[in-house]
């Protein structure tokens, strides 16, 4: 990180939500992020100052249309997208993650996680929100028992600190379990451009060996 705040573009059709998210971001004690643009239309926002934002916060419901299909397009163009939606059923969550979204924030849980998610995504760190944890629980069968327990408690819970306390682990270890589950899921491998960022983390954690990278890339390039 350079020390500069992360720039955020908000694509959302409810002004009250834009104001709310902006308030959360401004209230962050570390001033880690700043909103540089917002609007109700994807193309309009990108044409403005938010065109170069580090992170796009995207509502799936814009007016009458559901823009799930735009997620892949934005991610392929190299943007880091955080989907922010009330449609938090596992199918939708997995669909946007497969389309390349870096994270999914449910409107039910947004407050406590919003800034953390944005900052983590801006630095290409995997960030799993409780609702994503739930979606992964229903989908990913290759998790270790500890990873599964961490996901389960994180899905049920309010903070990683409380998960750590219940599992008798440090918060950092819990974060590692949860992130690793996300990386494993990414590794299950559907084409998702920003997952190249996860690749570095996967190698770091020893989840992927160097000789597997070629295969991973060819898969991602399909």
């Amino acid at each position: 990180m350079t020390g500069l705040p992360v720039t955020v573009g908000i694509i959302e059709d409810h002004p009250v939500v834009v104001d709310g998210v902006t308030t959360w971001i401004n209230a962050d004690p570390g001033q880690r992020a700043v909103v540089v643009g917002s609007g109700a239309d994807v193309d309009e926002v990108l044409a403005g100052p938010a065109g170069a934002a580090d992170v796009l916060l995207l509502d799936l419901h814009l007016g009458e249309t559901v823009v799930v299909d735009r997620v892949a397009e934005l991610c392929t163009a190299g943007r880091r997208v955080v989907v922010y939606s009330g449609m938090d059923d596992p199918d939708t969550i997995l669909a946007v993650l497969e389309a390349g979204a870096s994270a999914f924030l449910s409107k039910h849980e947004a407050g406590g996680h919003c800034v953390d998610t944005i900052v983590a995504v801006a630095t290409d760190r995997p960030y799993v929100t409780p609702s994503v944890a739930g979606a992964l629980l229903s989908e990913a069968p290759h998790l270790s028992a500890q990873e599964r327990t961490a996901l389960l408690l994180w899905f049920q819970s309010m903070s990683k600190a409380s998960v750590a306390r219940r599992m008798g682990l440090s918060e950092a270890t819990v974060r590692q379990y949860i992130d690793r589950a996300r990386v494993k899921y990414a590794k299950l491998g559907r084409p998702a451009p920003t997952k190249t960022a996860l690749l570095a983390r996967a190698i770091e954690d020893g989840l992927i060996r160097a000789d597997e990278i070629r295969e991973y890339r060819s898969h991602a390039a399909e």
Partner: protein, 363 residues
């Protein structure tokens, strides 16, 4: 094929009787007729007629048996009956002088194939056949001039002896079938009555059980209120909320819905929402079919947690075929929880936040 038990039983009896009729006719022909034919071979003046008669009897018998046992067409009964009467004529031709003596075995024997051939017809057909058989005998006796009293009494003995057995067997077999039908219908009616009584008892027991549950859920609290407990007391209010949520769950338990566990949890969430608590319910996975006592064990602690929530509660359900975990996070004071049967209960506090989870692990 009908599934009506009385019909099934009656059919089984009828089948047994038809098989028996075929066996009797078979033994009669192969055992008695064949022996008599061979023993008197030299007596026949036209041996070919005796041989053809013997074969024709066999052919009619086999055809009749096949039609009867395989359920073939009933239109062949009279043609086969006429063929059987032709056996009479052939044996008279074979030995005209022996018309009512042992070498002529046809008079009594053809009645047995007639029993088979006319089994599926009214008894009148068999009687008509036997009358025709008798008429042929009388005509034959007149034709060969065998009118002595010895001949006549012998003829009467042969016919009466055979006809009594054949008609008796026919009526007996059909009567047995009718009686079996009655017995089976009686038994089916009794079974139905028993089942209806068992269902009524189960419903009554279920009602009594529900009444006891309702009583347990509310009576103590109502008695305390009646005795002057303060409705403004937060503890009383919490217990009232929990009682209301339990009642809602009890009602929801009898609803016929695809996802009973979620339905019951929603019933509990409704009560909390009416108190102004903001409740969210997230579900991951598909909840398997669970019996009502297991569902009750899974929902009891979450309902207490929801009832104690002050403003916000989040209910999460994670389900697979092997595991169901129900958790509640709420801003709630400590609640008293008892360990439910069949599920694991864990809980924790973090500041003013209460977390609790019930978990069923199957297999």
């Amino acid at each position: 094929m009908t599934a009506e038990p009385s019909v099934v039983v009656a059919e089984r009896y009828a089948r047994g009787a038809t098989v028996a009729a075929v066996v009797i006719a078979g033994f009669w022909h192969l055992g008695y007729d064949s022996v008599v034919t061979v023993a008197n071979w030299g007596v026949y003046t036209r041996q070919w007629a005796a041989a053809v008669g013997w074969v024709l009897y066999l052919v009619v018998g086999v055809a009749g048996a096949v039609l009867l046992l395989r359920g073939g067409s009933r239109r062949w009964a009279w043609p086969l009956g006429v063929a059987a009467l032709a056996v009479d004529v052939l044996l008279v031709l074979a030995a005209p002088a022996q018309v009512i003596l042992p070498p002529n075995w046809a008079w009594g024997a053809v009645g047995w194939v007639a029993v088979i051939v006319f089994w599926r017809h009214r008894a009148a057909h068999l009687v008509a056949f036997l009358v025709a058989d008798t008429a042929l005998l009388v005509v034959s006796m007149v034709a060969v001039d065998a009118g002595s009293s010895q001949h006549v009494s012998r003829a009467i003995m042969v016919l009466l002896g055979a006809f009594t057995l054949q008609l008796g067997y026919n009526f007996g077999g059909h009567g047995l079938r009718t009686a079996a039908g009655w017995a089976a219908r009686d038994s089916a009616a009794r079974t139905e009555a028993t089942a209806r009584r068992a269902a009524a008892e189960a419903v009554a027991e279920d009602r009594a059980q529900r009444y006891r549950e309702l009583h347990r859920a509310t009576a103590t609290l109502l008695a305390e209120l009646a005795a002057g407990a303060d409705p403004a007391d937060p503890a009383i209010r919490r217990r009232a909320a929990a009682g209301a949520a339990r009642l809602r769950r009890l009602m929801a338990e009898t609803d016929d819905v695809p996802d009973p566990l979620l339905h019951e949890l929603r019933a509990g969430a409704d009560v909390a929402e009416r108190r102004g608590v903001q409740v969210s319910l997230s579900v991951v996975g598909t909840v398997p079919q669970l019996p009502v006592d297991l569902r009750r064990a899974l929902t009891e602690a979450p309902i207490l947690g929801l009832s104690a929530a002050r403003s916000v509660a989040r209910v999460t359900v994670v389900a697979s075929q092997q595991e169901v975990a129900v958790a509640v996070v709420a801003d709630a004071p400590p609640v008293r929880l008892s360990q439910p049967r069949g599920v694991d209960l864990t809980h924790d506090r973090d500041g003013d936040q209460l977390w609790l989870e019930t978990r069923w692990t199957g297999g």
